[in-house]
């Protein structure tokens, strides 16, 4: 019996988190929601109701005439121009998303920010942030955002930040299941408010290029098979997410797609301060090495492992397909 009321609002975002959520499989999205006992009160891209009917629902929720177990926010909160929030309005209501989200979040048992825009501002807060976009409870890396540092929803949790641009459908669906079952606690969130179920991993874990990484066999251009860390901007060794363990769209990931991890689950990924697709270096050494390793050791180990690089990896790293297959090992050397 569906009895966990969920409202989904889209603020300043691209809708891509919803589009990605629709890729949920085995079972598909709507079946997973109903199986979990989630009653979708309204979702702008998916629901039947429009107009007046939705306006009444929203004001019933805001006034507490109807209970709101879960408020999902997709997209950043536009505060501009000049603090009016007019850059993103909930159509038909004459009110900004900013003001609706403020009102509704005080009524919700749980507030979930879906995607990096909602969590931290994301790409919507890129460049000079023309729309003055912020996240629900963070503005970039800083706590605060729309709802403020001290915000706790009625259920006692801060905003749950399912960051990612976009999110993996199962990151969201698992987090929802855990909320419905009352199993999500503060300990299940990391320092940035993200569910640890997927952020206690690094993108580097399970990357098919790990063997190249071991020997610093690096690709020089995109499409080649080598590790993308040294030249092509990959920061998978610092990025918190299980993208190479829990794959996308039936088996993909950024690295499997042949391009760099840009750490889209992290606050402020949108403004790296250098080009996304090349690795900034100081004196030939990439900046932003793995966070839990002394730099000097990294440099020393790299030059050692480079020297030990097998010919197979040297060849394959610079090709877009395998040139040399791994050798077969025979137990009986004298056949």
């Amino acid at each position: 019996m569906a009895n966990f009321n969920m409202l989904w609002l889209q603020s300043s975002g691209c809708g891509g988190c919803t589009m990605s959520l629709l890729c949920a499989e085995s079972p598909p999205l709507f079946e997973q929601l109903s199986w979990q006992g989630i009653n979708l009160l309204w979702h702008p891209a998916l629901s039947e109701a429009s107009g007046q009917e939705v306006q009444s629902l929203l004001s019933d929720l805001e006034q507490g005439r109807e209970s709101l177990d879960l408020l999902c926010i997709e997209g950043a909160v536009a505060q501009g121009p000049d603090g009016t929030g007019d850059f993103s309005r909930l159509p038909g209501t004459g009110r900004s998303m900013m003001s609706w989200l403020q009102g509704l979040s005080t009524r919700a048992n749980y507030v979930v920010a879906v995607g990096s825009c909602a969590a931290y501002g994301g790409v919507s807060a890129g460049g000079d942030n023309p729309s003055d976009a912020t996240g629900a409870q963070y503005a970039g890396e800083r706590l605060g955002g729309l709802l403020g540092e001290a915000f706790r929803s009625r259920g006692g949790l801060p905003v749950i930040n399912i960051s990612g641009c976009p999110i993996h459908p199962q990151w969201v669906l698992e987090s929802l299941a855990s909320l419905v079952r009352g199993e999500m606690t503060l300990q299940d969130l990391d320092e940035l408010g993200r569910p640890r179920s997927y952020t206690d991993h690094l993108v580097h874990h399970g990357c098919p290029r790990n063997e190249y990484y071991e020997y610093k066999a690096s690709a020089q251009q995109h499409s080649q098979q080598g590790c993308l860390m040294e030249h092509l901007g990959c920061i998978g060794t610092q990025a918190h997410a299980d993208c190479n363990i829990r794959l996308w769209n039936g088996g993909g990931s950024c690295l499997r797609g042949g391009y760099a991890c840009i750490n889209c689950t992290a606050p402020e990924f949108e403004n790296p301060g250098y080009g996304f697709l090349s690795t900034p270096k100081v004196a030939g050494i990439p900046i932003g090495l793995p966070t839990d390793m002394p730099k000097a050791w990294f440099v020393a180990l790299s030059s050692l492992s480079k020297a030990a690089m097998p010919a197979r990896l040297r060849e394959n790293a610079l090709s877009d397909h395998q040139l040399m297959a791994p050798k077969i090992y025979y137990k009986n050397k004298r056949r």
Binding site: Q10, S12, G13, C14, G15, G16, M19, L22, C23, P27, P28, L29, F30, L40, W42, P44, A45, L46, S47, E48, S50, G51, E53, Q55, A78, P81, F87, S88, R89, L90, P91, G92, T93, V123, G127, D128, N129, P130, S131, C165, P166, Q221, H222, S223, W248, N249, G250, G251, S253, C254, R256, G257, G258, Y259, I262, E270, L277, D320, H321, Q322
Partner: protein, 480 residues
């Protein structure tokens, strides 16, 4: 005359508000307003040109790849990059996959649920149709989601993920596939074909693409067993071919070319085909919440939002071609392409709710067949990517493509190695533009005028909803 403000508008992408003047039982005048502004064109200024590949797809999560392709084309134009054949095929496959998924998602999740609207509860067909097409809980939604997710395995294979891939670049595709992956790709396409033939069309894709007259189609798709047939029955019952009549100027930027042949031609169609004069595009801001300026070509354009003031009523600009209001989308694309079925539809009822939806359905069949062909042409072992040439310090690049919803253009200018101007015109910007300085309403504004407002409709006339959704608007793209 009464005024109605309609919003929020569900099952469209993004924040849309309508302001309707209603006289007796008809819409006399409509104003279409985009209620969100994010500022991508401003964000892009000062960035490295290649970073457009990261930023622009995030304008829109529903046609993210179309944005990537437009950005990659603009960059290729700037750098002179030339992708190898495999790279072109892979990019075509990824792009067409998104177009196809988009058309498919629109039909099942956005458009058809309107027939489960309680306004129709007294119709004889209501029960059966609502059971099939009701949003979220209808049987079609579940079927469609599974099929869609499996189709998008193509993205997992060729693009890493969807949306927001970086696989498509000016030099081709970063993802090369081997022989076994190519077979997987063909399997994905085969499975989706089976769904389309059995559930959507009730007939083979080949017989759909060969159609030249709408009447032939009615006979092919059974109203009891195929969703397309169900649509025909509803369309006839509700006279959707008389609803949402548009203007008569249609544009397409064309695309999906391989080795000199384009799947879809570029051009303008009025009563005949004409070449596209891309230089005659200009964006008018007289009714937008933008700083006043004369209409400008996107090569020279700027985006300077003001607050919501009384001079405007939308964050959307009003693009015009030679001062003309233009409709874009599948029907427009196929008219420009000289498709006999599209021309037959235009002859009999012009652009309307039915003809827009039929050409969207037709394109699904066409795209899947093209994709099967491209997948066969891939040559594992041959290159997919050409090393990117260095981007010049100064220069301009243009990328013009067709997204599912119509023509999408990116205009980029680089100074001192950094982006100094980036202007984007998205399909829905054309269709959902506000009025221009001559007072000409945009394409949807025109299509809405005269729409019936039935007595049983409350605040939100169902005919208006059909018309709006027949364009499949994406408001996130519109204003970006």
């Amino acid at each position: 005359m009464t005024q109605r403000i309609i919003g929020p508008f569900s099952r469209v992408e993004g924040n849309l508000e309508l302001r309707l003047q209603i006289k007796e039982d008809r819409v006399a005048e409509a104003r279409v307003s985009s209620q969100m502004y994010r500022g991508f064109e401003q964000m892009l200024e000062g960035k490295k040109p290649i970073d457009a590949l990261v930023i622009t797809p995030r304008i829109c999560g529903i046609c993210s790849v179309s944005q990537s392709v437009a950005a990659a084309r603009a960059l290729a134009d700037l750098t002179g990059a030339k992708p190898p054949p495999n790279g072109v095929l892979a990019a075509n496959l990824v792009h067409a996959c998104e177009n196809l998924a988009d058309l498919f998602t629109h039909f099942y999740l956005f458009f058809m649920p309107d027939f489960a609207n309680p306004a129709y509860r007294n119709e004889a067909w209501y029960g059966r149709v609502a059971e099939r097409f009701r949003a979220v809980s209808g049987s079609a939604a579940g079927d469609a989601l599974s099929a869609r997710a499996e189709l998008l395995h193509l993205m997992g294979l060729l693009a890493g993920k969807w949306p927001h891939t970086l696989a498509i670049q000016p030099g081709g595709s970063t993802r090369s596939i081997d022989a076994s992956e190519r077979l997987r790709l063909l399997t994905v396409l085969r499975r989706f074909r089976a769904f389309l033939e059995k559930t959507t069309f009730g007939t083979s894709l080949e017989s759909i693409v060969e159609l030249s007259q709408q009447d032939q189609w009615h006979q092919l798709s059974e109203p009891e067993t195929s969703d397309c047939g169900r649509f025909f029955a509803l369309s006839r019952n509700l006279k959707l071919d008389q609803l949402g009549r548009g203007g008569n100027a249609f544009m397409s930027f064309g695309g999906h070319a391989f080795e000199g042949e384009s799947l879809f031609a570029a051009g303008l169609y009025t009563d005949r085909w004409q070449p596209l004069e891309a230089d005659a595009i200009a964006e008018d801001v007289s009714h937008s919440w933008m700083q006043a300026s004369p209409p400008r070509h996107p090569r020279e354009g700027a985006t300077k939002p003001t607050g919501m003031d009384d001079n405007g009523y939308s964050w959307c600009k009003a693009p015009r071609l030679n001062g003309r209001v233009i409709e874009v989308g599948a029907l427009a694309r196929q008219s420009v392409n000289g498709n006999p079925l599209a021309l037959d539809l235009l002859r009999s009822g012009g652009a309307n709710v039915q003809s827009r939806i039929l050409m969207r359905l037709w394109e699904m069949a066409r795209l899947l067949l093209a994709m099967e062909n491209w997948a066969e042409l891939l040559v594992p072992g041959e290159p997919f990517f050409e090393a990117g040439l260095a981007s010049p310090q100064d220069g301009e690049g243009v990328g013009m493509v067709e997204a599912a919803r119509g023509s999408l253009g990116h205009w980029m200018r680089v100074r001192n190695g950094l982006i100094d101007r980036y202007q984007i015109i998205a399909p829905t910007t054309w269709n959902f533009s506000p009025r221009d300085a001559d007072g000409q309403p945009g394409a949807l504004e025109q299509a809405l005028s005269n729409a019936p407002v039935r007595k049983q409709d409350d605040e939100n006339p169902v005919a208006v909803q059909h018309i709006v959704r027949s364009f499949d608007p994406c408001m996130a793209c519109t204003v970006h």
